[in-house]
Amino acid sequence: MAENTEPRIGVFLCHCGTNIAGSLSIEDVVEYAKTLPYVTIADQYQYMCSTPGQKKIDDAINEHNLTGVVVAACSPRLHEPTFRTATKEGGLNPFRFEMANIREQNSWVHMHGMWEEATEKAKDQVRMAVAKAARLEDLIPKSVPVERAAMVVGAGVGGMQAALDLASAGIKTYLIEATPTIGGRMSQLDKTFPTLDCSQCILTPKMVDVGRHPNIEMMTYTEVEKVEGYIGNFDITLRKKARGVLTPDEATAKGIVGGGCNGCGDCSEVCPVIKPNPFEMGMAPRKAIYIYHAQVMPLIYTVDFDSCVKCNLCVDVCGDKKAIDLEMQDEFITVKVGTAILATGFDLISIEEKREWGYKQFDNVISSLEFERLICASGPTGGHLIRPSDGKTPMAVGYVLCAGSRDNTGGVAKPYCSRFCCMYSLKHAHQIYEKIPGCKVYLFYMDIRSFGKMYEEFYYRIQNEGAKFIRGRVANVLEDPETKNLHIYSEDTLLGRPVDVEVDMLVLAAAIQPKEGANVLRKKFGVSASQDGWMLEAHPKLNPCGTTTAGVFLAGVCQGPKDIPDTVAQAEGAASAASIPIHMGEVELEPYFAMCIEDLCAGCGMCINLCPYAALDLTEKNGRTVMVVTEAKCKGCGTCGGFCPGGAIKMQHFTSPQIAAQIDAFFAGGEQ
């Protein structure tokens, strides 16, 4: 379209069924639009996003030789891409499109008795959009090549599945795990509901697959230090924490032939330092040189330098393998990837802060994860369920469900449902009956949420096995100082009377929260948090794996509570989404770059330090100092453009004349 022709704008109003048409007068707004400067045609349709709706745009562009298109409908965050495509199909540059958000920001928020006001507002919104559309320019999106590699951060079952899928699709995948082993929470579980598969038995083969997949570069004891770049070209700096032990490969690289850690564990035998093992929830010891458990992947020991006393006993016993290096330092490496998946999982809340249930006050009150380790054959007690105070087998076990979940009292409590506590508590009840015939199990619950496939059936099964379900929130727990038994005080809300149940042991099905450090990590990737603190998906329904940062995806509990089947399903979804740009080989970046208007630039250099991405420099041109933009670095935030005192920075698609025209249009009630 020639630049010097008068703008010719087409305006299209969407009814969105009754979503918009039910709250304001489409007819009035269309008639009004026709009176606006530059508007050549104004039309309306039931659903503008439908094929016939889009065809209206296509036809009008050709019939009326339009230079710009305005659609007044839902949010541009939803349908801007749709209508840009329609604009392009009509033969215009796709950036000659502007949207007026008359649904999310009008008809849905001014619903009852606001007909006139909403109609007025829609007229203003359309007028402002037309003012911008009249000043839009052709823009060419920049295509950038996509690095044929991906990164997955967090190697729980979610991260592992995502990495396996990406790698099997032929993509080089870096799997980053903060702890010394992959596996995550699932490796701490004994059995899994509702099938009662042994957790390790189904997880270990996956861990082995990850370990030997030629396309997976597994990096344990490693954290993300810095993220730079954008979709297709992320430069991610990793901190390889000093492990104090060389792998066979690392040893070979250092010329130690046949050396490196072979997992024999001789070092751990001789190490004199004893610390609690976090994998066993602190209920078993580990040495200063340790592995979490027998099935770790990779099977490489790790030195805990915070507790190591540098006695060198381990170095001596390791001998010719020369695997141990007590002077090792953290290393930093930078890798380039096209896309990334975050899968950082969860922690239990600090349930001791809910004082009423006595965790950490009374010996025999334990958390659900502690229970998993106590009932597990490879756990600290060899799978014998005993109570902490005296090692006796409990004959009555209580459960507090929703311990801190669905709780609006603030503090550590969470308003949301943690989604798997009901089910694992049922599973625990079954495990107790299996191991301790005659033991009684009392579950204090608010509701039992057994929504998944075969879950309700599992619930019936546990009822039939004899578990007692008492509906009520536990108000208070007290310990009998003599027997160390616990009294659970609650109201049975179904019978409407207070109850006092004495048990030998009490398990708290504690609420969960995002993994410690997840907030720092998500900010590095530019990912937002939901109100409840979990990482925010791009759209709760239509894009549950994506984020608002192009090229960054979410898998598993880091996005919100889910059990293993849901985690794995989301991980496969995220892997598929993350592989698309890589298989396409190129992505288009929105061309919202900054541009220097050299005639206006005074070369003051004030903008240089404002840019968060170091995209700006000063240069000499025709004997003058002017600013230049490195387009590949500019992300188009406009921070430089919002500042430049000379107005010398043009922010494409958000230019000052465009924004000024929008402002004028609002206040002047039309354009001058």
């Binding site: 939803l78 203003d124 402002m128 937002s528 939901s530 921070t639 919002g642 000052s656 402002i663 206040f667």
Partner: protein, 140 residues
Amino acid sequence: MADEWKPKILAIICNWCSYAGADLAGGARIQYPPTVRAIRVMCTGRVDMLFILKAFVEGADGVLVSGCHFGDCHYLEGNFKAAKRMFMIKSLLRNIGLDDRRFRMTFVSASEGAKWGTVMEDVTNTVKELGPSPIKEFKK
């Protein structure tokens, strides 16, 4: 009713947090006064002080700039840079004899739909309390 004064308030809001928060308010059908018109920018860092002054000169009764919380800006620190500028706006307004409560910067995240509704109420109430912008009288 028809003659009742309706304040004209301009909001310039960032795409990633406040615009998304405003969309969420819509999704949740949170009702608020129809006094505000929004212009979308990618980041509050884009907001030139001149845009705000221009709005007041054209007769805005109030102006709101809203972005991500500190630390959550999609471009790391655009909101921080914007906030610094916005302090200056307040003193500029005072200097030209406008009540600086007519201008406000808020931080509403993509998940704070309800907060967006509250901000709309608040801003509207403040501006209503202050009455029509004196600039309009002056321009007549």
